[in-house]
């Protein structure tokens, strides 16, 4: 089967590609290069504004246009944000040198990009995923962004276009390029890595992390190797992935394509490929053989950047708690694994959960409510004391799970105390006697169903009928019965009837 025909039928969730022809198993290996625009007020080397969405060619000045005689002056804030990223990614922050990367392209005003080459600012770090795995970071260096071309006429691509327009608003915007090691093994891994990285960037205020506005851009280096092998295969660099979904699809497609190439008796060509979202496939771009020689050399218009240890320490002190740390804290307090509270941190509700636990709320119930019942606007403003009180009422049996959920929802909208809401709604937990009476009535009303339930051999059928009876009891009690208690009573009654 050719690669074209297997689009959408790539590597599985664990990144293993099973060959259609031989049944051999191949491992997907992914390393990501992420470019993030740093959230500064002005550009990396001049005082022109750094803003998205403005009228074309309004945020410009001699330096961002590369006019003759203009010179770059390094933006201190950009360096601080870049150091914060490095520190958050557990990198060594080191003295560094800017270098010119020379190539001709009309959206690049000077026809060289000021970047960092052999002496980057941040090296040798890692990003911790929610499941605890550490993904290596080779380097995170600072560089300037290019302008933006739009091609008019033709199909919007450079070839066949009638003319091109260039917007230099983005030229000179500060970027940090975060080069990850090839430690990822699947599309799911890659998505988890980008989500986590984005959360870190947003948490420290380094970037808004908006993929749709291009402030976060991803290139994926993908290769495959036989399962069990330690060697790296020849990789392709996949560009033009503009969403997490595209990233996953592109990696899965590309892994399958490479397996097909290898099994077809050919070698994977090391090249840049572009993800075509509509076609669901990657297409070859520039191959590395004909790649340009960037003629890097130290940027003579700038002096080496040697961050003072005190300055680094100050930036480190200013870092807020990072997602991994926040997961660890909540997980510890709740007695669960960090991965189980990833969502809580992602929704920025870990502080609420921690505070509720501190105020005596049952950790398991608190964590459960946050995960399932608080994915709503305004949840972050919930009073942790009230939240803890609600959980305590639920655990003590004053409220059923269903009632607690309803009260919680109203707490979010009204900000009132749970006891007050419960009283107003007339919620009080039913005692066992009242539940028994209700159950008796329901069984009496449905004798045939009851007989079928008691006699059912098929667990599926039994479960279905149990659900039927629980539903009837809940209805009869107007939702005041505790679902768990009803289930227990029902099971006990069935056992007593010989089922």
């Amino acid at each position: 089967m050719s690669a074209e025909q297997t689009a959408g039928n790539g590597a599985d969730g664990a990144g293993i590609v099973v060959s259609d022809t031989t049944g051999d198993r191949w491992e997907t290996v992914v390393g990501l290069e992420v470019h993030a625009e740093l959230a500064t007020a002005t550009k990396l080397f001049s005082s022109a504004p750094n803003a998205f969405g403005d009228e074309p060619n309004t945020n410009i000045d001699p330096t961002s246009l590369g006019l003759p005689g203009s010179l770059p002056v390094l933006n201190r804030r950009a360096v601080e944000l870049a150091m914060a990223v490095g520190l958050a990614l557990n990198c060594d922050v080191r003295p560094c040198v800017f270098a010119r990367k020379n190539y001709f392209y009309p959206d690049m005003p000077k026809n060289y990009q000021i970047s960092q080459f052999d002496q980057p600012l941040n090296v040798d770090g890692y990003l911790e995923l929610p499941d605890g795995r550490r993904i290596g970071i080779e380097r995170a260096h600072v560089e300037e962004d290019t302008g933006k071309n739009s091609h008019v006429g033709g199909d919007g691509r450079i070839h066949g276009a009638e003319h091109s327009l260039i917007d230099y608003n983005r030229a000179g915007v500060p970027l940090i390029e975060i080069v990850g090691r090839p430690d990822l093994r699947s599309a799911d891994d890659a998505r988890a890595y980008v989500s986590e990285l984005r959360a870190v960037l947003v948490a420290i205020g380094a970037s808004d992390g908006k993929m749709e506005e291009g402030s976060l851009r991803i290139d994926a280096n993908v290769s495959v190797r036989p399962v069990g092998s330690d060697e790296l295969g020849l990789r392709c660099e996949i560009k033009n992935v503009n969403s997490l979904r595209s990233l996953g699809r592109a990696i899965e497609y590309e892994a399958r394509r490479q397996v097909d190439v290898i099994e077809g008796g050919e070698r994977v060509r090391q090249e840049t490929r572009h993800w075509d979202e509509e076609a669901g496939r990657t297409r070859p771009g520039r191959s590395k053989e004909e790649a340009e020689d960037y003629r890097y050399f130290p940027e003579p218009d700038l002096v080496p950047l040697v961050p003072d240890p005190d300055w680094i320490a100050k930036v480190a002190e200013g870092l807020p708690p990072l997602p991994a740390e926040r997961r660890r804290r909540l997980a510890e307090a709740a007695g669960v694994l960090p991965a189980q509270v990833a969502l809580h941190v992602e929704r920025d509700l870990d502080h609420l959960a921690l505070a509720a636990i501190e105020r005596g709320g049952d950790p398991a119930r608190v964590v459960n409510h946050v995960e399932h019942n608080l994915a709503v606007d305004g949840a972050e403003a919930l009073d942790p004391g009230y939240f803890a009180a609600l959980v305590t009422m639920e655990v003590s049996g004053e409220l059923t799970a269903t009632q607690a959920k309803a009260v919680l929802a109203e707490m979010v909208t009204s900000g009132r105390a749970p006891a007050e809401i419960a009283a107003e709604r007339g919620y009080e937990a039913m005692d066992t006697a009242a539940l028994d009476v209700a159950l008796d009535e329901v069984i009496a009303e449905h004798p045939d169903d009851w007989a079928a339930y008691v006699a059912a051999d098929d667990p599926k059928k039994a479960k279905k009928l149990a659900g039927f009876f629980v539903g009837k009891v809940m209805k009869a009690t107007a939702g005041q019965a505790d679902g768990k208690a009803v289930n227990q009573a029902l099971a006990a009654r069935r056992a007593a009837s010989g089922g």
């Binding site: 003759p68 005689g69 026809n111 003629r295």
Partner: protein, 499 residues
Amino acid sequence: MTALALAAAVRSGARTATDVLEEHLAVIDRLDGEVAAFNLVTAELARAQAEAVDAAVARGEDPGPLAGVPVALKDNLCTRGIPTTCSSRILEGWRPPYDATVVTRLVAAGALVVGKTNLDEFARGASTENSAFGPTRNPHDPSRVPGGSSGGSAAAVAAGFVPIAVGSDTGGSIRQPAALCGVVGLKPTYGLVSRYGLVAFASSLDQIGPFATTVADAVACLEVMAGHDPLDSTSIPEASPALQGVLADGVDGLRVGVVSELLGEGVAPEVATRTRQAAEALAAAGATVEEVSVPATRLGLSAYYLIAPAEASSNLSRYDGVRFGLRVDAPTTGEMMERTRTEGFGEEVKRRIMLGTYALSAGYYDAYYGKAQRVRTLIARAFAETYADHDVLLSPTSPTTAFAFGAKTDDPMAMYLNDVCTIPTNLAGHAAVSVPYGVGDDGLPIGVQVLAPALGEAVMGRVAAALERSAPTTPPPTLGSRPADATTSGTDTSAEGVR
């Protein structure tokens, strides 16, 4: 009249700036046809500036240390709204939207910008023959070159068109034409004068400096231009040095080394003789003078001709027809860039782009650019050792007096050898000044160079002033006795027109 005498007259109200200006414009109008020092005479701009100076004097305000002094600017210094051509076709029609820092400072000091002077295209050359607008002639002999690349500025001062002109020096481009034209030319310590607004040739070597008829005028101009500029990252973070006050201090007790490597092979005997006479004069004035060997200076030329073209190849990439200057249309963007650069750049510029591109190429970087940078370190170290025992060094500025047009245009290597005495200073980032010291057998001026360590301008000025006091007279040029050359058009002073 010297610049300082003119400024004193204008500040005291004895003369008006307007009167001074019109006198100089008349001379330019009458005689620049013979010299072709100017690419453009900015009479209207200068008249407005003169009126502002006169108004300030009338109000009783101090219009600044260079009040009413006409100044010519090398045409690679950006002037807002005024064409800045670098004597290249490729900048055709470009008017910078900003002033170079030195222009801002000169005008703030009361100077009057009378025009933009000719140069070797993009400052690449040593004769001002590589100009898209034709050569400038040596005021002392119209069949000879004025030197270069700041030939227009040197000739403008030598011809008496202006008391002060500004040039740039990357490998000798101020000092060599100063020597050939019989004026003072000073290359300050790298970083002392802001490069903001100087169209870059080789960023790590370029430095702006003054031409004048006296050492005092030269340092007065330097005082105005020097001092930290936040727009240039390589600008030294110090205030402008006070230099005029030390010039009369004499050289008693100073230790002067005459560089033996720069007196031997390749240096015309008459030039060596004048240099020895200068050394003797200093000894007579109380200095300790000895010959000193600095073998590393011999390495300068080869290192320079790798570093300068390498940086230049990158600096010149921005001239691509996309944003400013010449555009030669073609079906695709790539071809448009190629044709624009092919037609816009002259031969010498192309030669250096090729050299530099090669020196930076993958696989050659270490052998060429990398090694040249290591040689540069060696030269700086050798100078440091020499300066441990010497306050200044002495050498010829140029190995010969002014040569005839075309004498070296077919032999780039012979042309490059012109810079052998001046290049080591640029590589080390040090200061040096050329002082006129009589004439050679051909009756043409000879310059002697005083070299000083970084920020050694004060001691260098003292020695230069002592040389000036002892120098044999240089007969003034005899312009006006011959008709304007047919190959160089007269200069229109009534309006601003590019040649």
